[in-house]
Symmetry: C2
Subunit: 293 residues, 2 copies
Amino acid sequence: MDQLDLNRRGSILLGDCEVLLATLPPASVDLIVTSPPYADQRKHTYGGIAPDQYVDWFLPISAELYRVLKPSGSFILNIKERVVDGERHTYILELILALRKQGWRWTEEYIWHKKNCYPGKWPNRFRDAWERCLHFTKEKQFAMYQDEVMVPTGDWATTRLSNLSETDKVRDNSRVQSGFGKKISNWIGRDMAYPTNVLHMATECGNKQHSAAFPVELPSWFIKLFTQPDDIVLDPFLGSGTTAVACVELCRRYIGIDISPEFIKIAEDRLSACYPKPLQLFIAEETNGTYNS
Amino acid sequence: MDQLDLNRRGSILLGDCEVLLATLPPASVDLIVTSPPYADQRKHTYGGIAPDQYVDWFLPISAELYRVLKPSGSFILNIKERVVDGERHTYILELILALRKQGWRWTEEYIWHKKNCYPGKWPNRFRDAWERCLHFTKEKQFAMYQDEVMVPTGDWATTRLSNLSETDKVRDNSRVQSGFGKKISNWIGRDMAYPTNVLHMATECGNKQHSAAFPVELPSWFIKLFTQPDDIVLDPFLGSGTTAVACVELCRRYIGIDISPEFIKIAEDRLSACYPKPLQLFIAEETNGTYNS
DNA sequence: GTTCCGCATGAATCGATAG
DNA sequence: ACTATCGATTCATGCGGAA
């Protein structure tokens, strides 16, 4: 990836992703995580793709994504169909079918359950509290590091976890993420379980600087699951840079593309104030000498 | 519906639902809730429909469902696609597209989050913890009674609800469901909120008598949301009778169809031991005189 | 009458073995 | 080669029995 001028942390590219993706070498990316502009959204930057044209708009881009992804790589597409004329539009169903014709395997559909979804009331539907995280791969076998996202078992969470201090939790997390120490499965033993394909995460609503499509937690989870440190993660619709932030925190390299100079600026500002998680821990311990292991 | 010989509670019909549905009058049903046999499942009763043939198998049935449903009615289809050769099969996506061509409106997709999903570990996926509850309607406007499924807000649930006895909860539920007392929204006031389109419910696995496809809670929720007392609810794949049980408990009339005499027997046995929720309360209070309001 | 522990039980999926 | 069956894997829940 040296020809990409990818520094130690990553690269942010300004421009149309279909054009810029063509400049990347084939089979060079370990993971693609993205939340593309939803139909009729972001009109000021992408021109607001009409639902009926969404598949035709996306397919040339996904063809380039297929080319740059390693055979062992994964492609996570976070998306949710809009309501049009009182019913769910079918462009995502059609997109899944079209991507399969393009060669992608529709390996799994994860659900992001938005614990704090947007408020509102309508006569014929409730608040929409979930989005699709479609998992596509090129091959039947692909890289997956399940131990990296293990969670406390229900029993353990309600009884023992509640007794741990916040500092304990932070320290434990960072140790695992930095690759030091034992595997979680050995370390905690039977107190940890593998997660399911339903992710419970709150949306980030407090941040006034940027309107992130998804919380850092979401790309972080998939990055831990599908890549190792120093692997390369691509987000062709970087937006406010959430995927790149997750990469820095987890010591992965990123390639971020966006067509909007405003968003690129926001992403670069966020990244400049962003450190790997182990380093964050180090800073925290420097500042706070009261911690005892 | 008198020509159906529908008694005060409902009717259970033994036979092929495509045939039997043709005998029902048009526009006579308020709600259809069903969980059809999934592809390649239940081979002993339904012959195990192959994934590739699923849409063709289902369309003649859904045509009859369309005919018997009132214009203001809803059709809830609980289903989940299998994994075939390491990827999710697309027959449900194709089914949604085909149902729309048949005239159905794909109004919403609710998610049933199965808190206790089937265990297991595989190299390329996690446990499947969710199923689709597809909501189809005939018209843009349809009957929906949102107040009937309001839920306590987090604060209230964790503080006051946990202090209530089981009897209290039964009493409260039955009052609301039977139409006695105030609307929940007035009764609890600001402590109640509307739910989202994500339903958190555990599967019923402990029951030795029958293996219900879904918990009574699931059809109950949709029945409360889309019907009023004495309305008619249809389940063309009744199975062990869970939908009919929910109808009895909520004082709705049911039409249940199943092709398996064994399942019909199980359903009838369950229904004979089944009472409306207000009556359950009455029995509970007869037995337990210690309750003070 | 509580609370706590042990146990059986699932609309599952994969890989290996057998026809 | 391609399909059919079987064992191994794994965890939240609700029941019954025990302290």
